[in-house]
Amino acid sequence: MSIAPVSRSLYLSAALLGAALVPNLALATPLDDRREPLAVGAQWANEPRAGDLQLEAQAQIDIEDENDPLEGLNRGIFEFNRVVDGIILKPAAQIYRGVLPQEAQDGVRNFLRNLRSPIILLNNLLQGDMQAAGNTIGRFLLNSTAGLGGVLDLAGERGLPYRGEDFGQTFAVWGIGDGPYLMLPILGPSNVRDTTGIVAEWLTDPVNIALDNNDLEYLIYVRAGFTGIDARARSLDVLDELERTSLDYYAAIRSLYRQQRANDIRNSRPSDDEGRPNLTRAQAALPDDVVSFRPSR
């Protein structure tokens, strides 16, 4: 079984069609039905403490985001992905990890990350994050030259660590909500906002455009393949552990994807950190609201 070399335009039209169709489903659900009332105290027999309220408020935000109107279809695609993963991706990742020494794997990852520099820079700028833009340029210049075309992450060793950005995160910074949860075939967990971001990246990525214009389209797929195998190889242990201990693997992945993306959007800063930039309104409002929900004595 091999992934058919679907023409890029066909793939794009399908993804765009999906992205265009799905938001309408979100509108079908009234907002109020998706949000549980913030009666946080009710869950706690004794007087709630600040920590309870913080946890509750966090959970409430997640419930609001639960938003999975296509759950039946998504679960079907999830099972399909697990089969494909078991046949192709996971074995490939195991071989990759077993054959290549760690240094070589890091080299591949560094090279792939360096290739994303233009798209990361674009997103840094779209987010108005000039400091991050400077970091991205600095990393690209150093790693592309002294770092042998990006194989070595010299910048990371000198205090300029890699920080990925994508259009989904940029849309979030602009205040666009994530929309219904989506399980994409092969690509895995996503949502309407992030899927739109994937399409936008596919369309604008200068590296892929350059390859396309020079009849090297197959290299786009080679790159995508290595990106997938690298990511899978690094998550082998964690996903095995999760699958082993979870009661509902689909629901666990759904929650983890949300938390992971929220963390990416916050650029890994703690959700209630004092110096938090670039938060969506709901996230930024969290700590103060938590305090104001406290029962007055």
Binding site: Q58, A251, L256, Q259, S268
Partner: protein, 222 residues
């Protein structure tokens, strides 16, 4: 001339001293950023000790899987407020469960979390745990920490929510890279309950089976 030279001398000495101080302090300050905790309050000390203990006891390569699980279970009982965590994980379903169901859930959840963390720590080797700072949120305390990787890779950020009860500190939430395990379980278990006619009993049945299968596979491995 004499006055000038004396002043000149004292300036030179001050500069030299300053240079010496900066030189000596420089590397130390840099190291302190990566090593010494900011303030050793009781909560920070509790979390530092918890982290040290976890790394010392759970990454031990000489013990078997079931011993690792037992050690994790002992840590959960001693250092976590298991009732508070269980309540949070069950969420609105906590109050719908009978006291017997609540008790059974606490026990089964302890087993599941013991296996999960034991499995994750088993892969660790050479990491160190370091408390960075803390933040009081009126009563409970969030302690920010990180796990330093031996390879020199990016440290893994950790947040631990700590609750003082009768002068004893207990953890009620742990976030690794912004991801909370109790929150993930809460979402997952809510889904399980919803798919079992909204019955907590349905969740307990599946938890019992999962816990038995984890214990069996661990017993076979030893």
């Amino acid at each position: 001339m004499t006055a000038f030279s004396r002043r000149h001398f004292s300036v030179a000495v001050s500069a030299a001293l300053l240079g010496l101080v900066l030189f000596a302090a420089g590397p130390q300050a840099a190291r302190a950023q990566g090593a010494a905790p900011v303030a050793q309050t009781e909560a920070a000390k509790f979390v530092q000790e918890l982290g040290n203990r976890a790394i010392l006891e759970l990454t031990d390569k000489t013990i078997g899987d079931s011993e690792r699980v037992d050690r994790m279970r002992a840590m959960l009982r001693q250092s976590f407020d298991e009732t508070a965590v269980s309540r949070f994980v069950l969420g609105t379903y906590w109050n719908r469960a009978t006291p017997a169901e609540q008790n059974e859930f606490i026990g089964l959840y302890e087993t599941l979390v013991s296996y999960t963390y034991a499995g994750l720590f088993k892969k660790y080797s050479g990491e160190t745990f370091q408390v960075l700072r803390e933040r009081d949120i009126s009563g409970d305390i969030v302690v920010y920490a990180q796990i330093n990787q031996p390879s020199g890779g990016q440290p893994i950020p950790i947040e631990i929510l700590v609750r003082p009860t009768d002068g004893v500190y207990r953890a009620i939430d742990i976030k690794v890279e912004g991801i909370s395990m109790p929150l993930t379980h809460r979402k997952e278990y809510a889904s399980v309950i919803q798919r079992n006619q909204g019955q907590v009993a349905g969740l307990l049945k599946i938890l019992r089976e999962k816990s038995a299968s984890l214990e069996n596979s661990s017993a076979r491995a030893n």
